[in-house]
Every structure is written in C-alpha cells, then in structure tokens.
C-alpha cells in the first residue's frame, strides 16, 4: 500500500487540494492501485500548495503545485514510487525552508493526520498532559512561568503570571477561553494549527484547566474559518470518545469539557473583553479594566484567556520541561515564534524560529523577497494596528522589545510585505477606515476620530492646507492614542504615523514632517 498525503488545510483547498485528492483516488481505483490518501495539514510552504507527498522508504517525497488534471500523467510517470518529475521537490524534510526551522508548536502540522489520535500520540502527543496530571497545579503554573512563554495574541503578557492569578482566585467555576479570533491581516498560524493539529490546542487547554482549576473550556473561532471550526468539532468528538476530554481526563480525577463558539464578523471581538461579551451572547463592546478577566471574566468568573499559539506551546513545555523551551530565543522573548510571511512574498507561509532572527533575513533569505519580483518598499508587522517599517529596519532582531525599540510591534507575528508600487497614503487612510468600520463605539476618539482621520488624510493628499491638516492629523493621533480604552483606537495611529514618517512623498507632502 502506498500512502499519499494531500493537505486539507484551507490554503491548500484554496488552490484545489480537494480536487487533487479526488483525482488520485479515482485514478488509483481505475488502475487498480493500492493507494491510501491521507489528508494532512499543510507544511506551511504555501507557495507550493497543493503540495502532494508520497511516502517512500527514503522518506516523504514532495510534488509542488499539483493540479487534478496532472494526476493521470503524474501517476503514469511514477508519482507513487516517488520518481522524479518537473514538479518533484525531493525529500520534503530536506527542503531548506523547512530544514532551517525550529518546529516546536508546529512540529506535527503537515506531518500527521490531524484527526488521528493514534498519529498524535505516536508523534509525542499527550505526553505533556500525562506529566501535568502527575503534578500539582502550582507546579504546572511554575513550569509555564519558568518557560518564559508570553502571550502570542498581541500583548505578550507572561502566560504563567496570568494562570497564577486564576489559580489563586477562589471560585466555584473558572473558565479557559481560547482566543481563536485571528482577525489580523497577514496572520493564519492559529487557523493552520487548528486545521492541521487540533489535538495540540485541545491538550494545551486541558493542561491550563488542570493548572488553574477550570473544568470548562471555550474556543472562540471567527466565522471566516468554517473549515477550522469543522476540524475542531470533529477533534473534540474524538477526544471525548477516547476519554481525553470529559469527566475523567485520561482516567484521572480531573474533568474538562470543551466547546467551540463561533464569532460573527467583528474584528474587535478579538479583544479579550469584547470576546467575553460576545461569548455571553451580547454585542462585542470592550469592557473597562480593571477588573481583569483573570479575576472577573466570563459570566463574572475567573477566566484564563489565551491565544491559540500560546496554548498550543503548552503541551511541549510540559512534555520537555520549561528549560527546554526557555533555551530558545533572546532576552525576554523566549521560545519560538511562529512567523507568518504574507502579502507580496515569494515564499509565503509559516516560519517557526527562535526569536532573534533579523527582519531582513526573514523577509529576504527565508521569504525570498517579493512575489512580484519588485523591490520591497515596506512591511507591516503585527496586523492592521501594527507599524509600517522600511528596509532601514532590516537589521532589527524579531522580538517583543527589539521591535518596540524601533516603534514596531510583534503582535501575532504576521509580516505583510509590500513592493514599491504601494502608496502609503492609501495604507494610512485604510488604517483609519478600518478603525472606523470595526470600532466597538465606546470611545469617541476611536469612533469619531477615525472617521475624521480619513477626511484629514484625504485633505492632505489633495494638497489642502497641508501644514494645518498635518497638525490636525497629529492631534487626532494623539487623542486616539491617549483617549482610547483599548488598542483598536489606541494603536491605529501606529500604522498612520509610521506611513507618514517613512514616506511623506506618498502623501504629496511639500512641507516638512516632524
């Protein structure tokens, strides 16, 4: 029997992976070949999708950008024995893009069948959970604290400290809420993990539950991710059937239940307190803090809120120990970061590496520069609220503090690459427009300021009273930064100001920009 892997990741599906899988099955039936098609996650080399892999004695051989109509020919010329062909890449794991990565959180993504618990365990799954069951809650929390793991959703808050607060708060009910709203443009790591290795997230959430004394978990997934929702629901069912979830987790005294909740098309619901409101069935209005959700969270109960990537790092930390995770990274950015190369990039996809690689190396060496072949003009890191950086920032090491030093923000680790055809006044205008569209409406600077921002930028570009309008824009940015309750209004000035500072000519500016 020959095993053929065809990813079922949404990115692969978007390039025709389902049709390819079907064509392989059809052709095998027609020719009486003994073939099993496994639907794996994606390896994260998205420019190669659909990437078909064939298991051989030497390892898994890859074929890039396969289309359904190529299948008869590919099979006739020996695809099933891994023979060479124009689209043949050789051994997938020997490809530079993959070989040079440190896959910890993404270790199994693309390798295993996402819905096979057997595969999962055979590749190191459930080891962390078994260790956790044998530990005291306080020891689990210490382990996570010692690992140096910081929140991957944007703010970079130490996960262990958050967990400790929830652990030390008495309550009859506590919750683990996974933030899978992943609204930032340029980010897709959460989606790929949920589709490609959902048991890792489930295991991380159970460990969090045991650590803080929570028996109920919720995963808030955006509605734009129908496939991830489907895979998660299937994985949860399988986990229940195998007693990984339920009243006695792996036969222990711990119980943990898990439910998927779906968003409804609101960016601000990724903000943690807006997410809580949404989980309570209400409008996604941001809550004032304090109280912090760790003390007063979902339905007023102590709640751990963590991003998918944060929770997915936990099983490995518990399996291999805090020291192992902590050994990666630089300064106060420990462990690995799952970078996402997006936009106008030659080799777009997932790059998991220890913190510390320079921005330039990431974009140029790993990503290969732009897809269009034109020079890079700018990159936006950390989603729509993140700053634009120019090529003069190529030497900046990728880490929380190092990026902050140059006015940037790591956010969820997405990097959007733009070539020299981009007009930065348009990008600044879009940032304001997006804020106006997605604001929850609670604060005036965010709600009204962003609408004014669009108008002021238009006037600057039109050359109307530029000096006066630049001053007005600066005032607006200041008011938004200082007078907004959350980062939606508070950080929108970041892309606006950085675009203006780096590329004043794009705004048609004739006066000097401060």
């Amino acid at each position: 029997m020959t095993k053929v892997f065809v990813p079922m990741d949404s990115a692969a599906l978007s390039m025709g992976a389902n049709e390819v899988a079907q064509a392989i099955t059809d052709q095998a039936t027609k020719s009486g070949l003994d073939v099993t098609v496994v639907r794996n996650g994606s390896r994260g080399m998205l420019w190669l999708e659909p990437l078909v892999e064939v298991e051989t004695e030497a390892g898994r051989i890859g074929y890039a950008n396969v289309s359904a109509d190529q299948i008869p020919d590919l099979i006739a010329t020996g695809l099933l024995s891994g023979s060479s062909h124009d689209s043949c890449l050789g051994l997938v794991e020997e490809l530079d893009f993959l070989k040079n990565q440190t896959r910890i959180t993404f270790a199994r993504v693309g390798v295993t069948d996402p819905l096979s618990l057997v595969d999962y365990e055979a590749n190191g799954g459930l080891k962390g959970l078994r260790n956790a069951i044998a530990m005291t809650p306080a020891k689990i929390v210490d382990e996570v604290t010692d690992s140096g793991l910081r929140g991957r959703g944007g703010a970079g808050f130490p996960a262990g400290i958050k967990w400790k607060t929830v652990l030390n708060t008495e309550s009859d009910q506590k919750y683990i809420c996974c933030n899978a709203d992943e609204g930032d443009s340029g980010t897709f790591a959460d989606r790929m993990l949920m589709e490609g290795d959902p048991f890792t997230l489930i295991e991380g959430m159970i460990i969090a539950g045991i650590a803080v004394g929570a028996t109920q978990g919720l995963i808030y997934v955006r509605s734009e991710y129908p496939h991830a929702i489907d895979v998660l629901n299937q994985a949860i069912q399988i986990a229940i059937e195998h007693k990984v979830l339920g009243t006695s987790v792996l036969g222990s005294e711990f119980s943990f239940n898990l439910e998927v909740r779906v968003g409804a098309g609101s960016y601000v619901c990724g903000e943690e307190t807006a997410m809580l409101e949404s989980l309570e069935g209400k409008r996604g209005m941001v809550r004032a803090k304090p109280p912090i959700p760790a003390l007063v969270g979902l339905f007023g109960k102590p709640t751990v809120i963590n991003n998918v990537m944060t929770l997915a790092a936990v099983p490995m930390i518990l399996a291999d120990g805090a020291a192992s995770y902590q050994s990666f990274g630089v300064d106060r950015s420990r462990g690995t970061q799952v970078f996402q190369l997006a936009g106008n990039i030659l080799r777009g996809g997932i790059v998991e590496l220890p913190f510390g690689i320079t921005l330039g190396d990431l974009v140029n060496k790993v990503g290969g520069g732009t897809h269009s072949g034109r020079p890079v003009k700018t990159v936006q890191i950390g989603g729509p609220l993140g700053a634009y950086l120019g090529v003069e920032s190529w030497d900046v090491p990728m880490g929380y503090e190092s990026l902050a030093e140059v006015g940037g923000m790591l956010g969820h680790g997405g990097i959007v690459i733009f070539d020299d055809t981009v007009n930065m006044a348009k990008q600044a205008r879009f940032a304001m427009e997006f804020c106006a569209e997605e604001s929850c409406g609670k604060c005036t600077p965010c709600r009204i300021g962003s609408t004014r921002g669009v108008e002021v930028i238009d006037r600057i570009v039109a050359g109307e009273e530029q000096a006066k309008n630049l001053e007005l824009l600066e005032d607006l940015c200041e008011v938004m930064t200082d007078g907004s309750l959350c980062a939606m209004g508070g950080l929108t000035p970041l892309p606006v100001r950085s675009a203006l500072k780096l590329f004043p000519a794009d705004f048609g500016i004739k006066v000097e920009v401060k």
Binding site: E224, R283, I345, F430
Partner: protein, 153 residues
C-alpha cells in the same frame, strides 16, 4: 426561503429556552436555517431567550455577518485587508465592479452576491476570496465565476 413558521423556529431554538446568554447563538442558528434573519425572528428569539427585542436587535446590528434579507445562491466574500491589498486585490475588485458587482454594497445579480471581508486567513495566497465557504487563493475573476457557476447551476 420564506416558508418558515414561528413554531419551527422555536423548535430549533429549544435548547436555548430561557437562556439570556444565547442571543448571539440563536441569531446564528436562525441565519443558518433560513439564510438570513427575518424581522419576525427577532421577536421569537427575544421571547425564547427571555430578553427584550431591543437587546436582540442590538446584537443583530452589531455583527456584520447577519443579514436581514435572503442572500443570493452564491455569496462571494472578497478580502479587502492589507495582505491582499499587497497582492493586487484592488484590480480584482475593480474587475468585479466592471462585471456589475459592488463588494461594498453587496448587490445581487444573476444569483450572485459579492461582499467585502477583512481577512480570510489565506494571506500568503492573495487575493483571497471565498464562495459559499469554499476558499479561493490567488483569486481571479475566472476562478471566482467558475466557483459561482458550480453553485448557481
């Protein structure tokens, strides 16, 4: 689409009876069933969840997923966010516009409706689109209309 009864909706909403925290899920369920949320469903949900109609209406208007009129047979979501802008979404959007589809208005033409969305999580293969939930990478007009004709046929 319009032949639903209060009773049949209430049947589906059964598990949420008296649960004030289920307003959002109730709206989602109705939209899943009918394709949109008719005005009368707001009252039914309010009654079932034991909250005011105003509260249900507030939730309904907050989230951009909800529609008050039936959707076209094929709903195309086109990404307008930054990574897709960097990959040429603007020219795709203007080509679609030339074919009579305004993604900002979401007008229906020939059983097809196109709407803007902010990021579909396929940002390395932009421009990204989605047709009735099925993703399309490196989207072109040709790819989009091939997908729509498969569902409108």
């Amino acid at each position: 689409m319009s032949n639903f009864s209060e009773e049949s909706i209430l049947n589906y909403l059964g598990p949420y009876k008296g649960d004030g925290s289920a307003v959002l899920r109730s709206l989602q369920l109705v939209q899943e069933l009918l394709g949109y949320v008719p005005d009368s469903a707001l009252d039914i949900i309010a009654k079932n969840s034991n909250v005011s109609r105003a509260e249900v209406y507030g939730v309904f208007t907050f989230y951009s997923d909800f529609r008050s009129t039936p959707p076209a047979k094929a709903v195309v979501k086109v990404c307008v966010a930054e990574a897709c802008q960097a990959s040429g979404s603007a020219s795709l959007i203007s080509e679609l516009h030339d074919k009579g589809y305004d993604i900002h208005k979401g007008n229906i033409k020939d059983d097809i409706q196109m709407e803007q969305t902010f990021c579909l999580g396929n940002c390395a293969l932009g421009p990204a689109a989605m047709v009735n939930g099925a993703p399309i990478g490196r989207a072109t007009c040709a790819k989009i209309f091939a997908a729509t004709s498969a569902v409108t046929a």
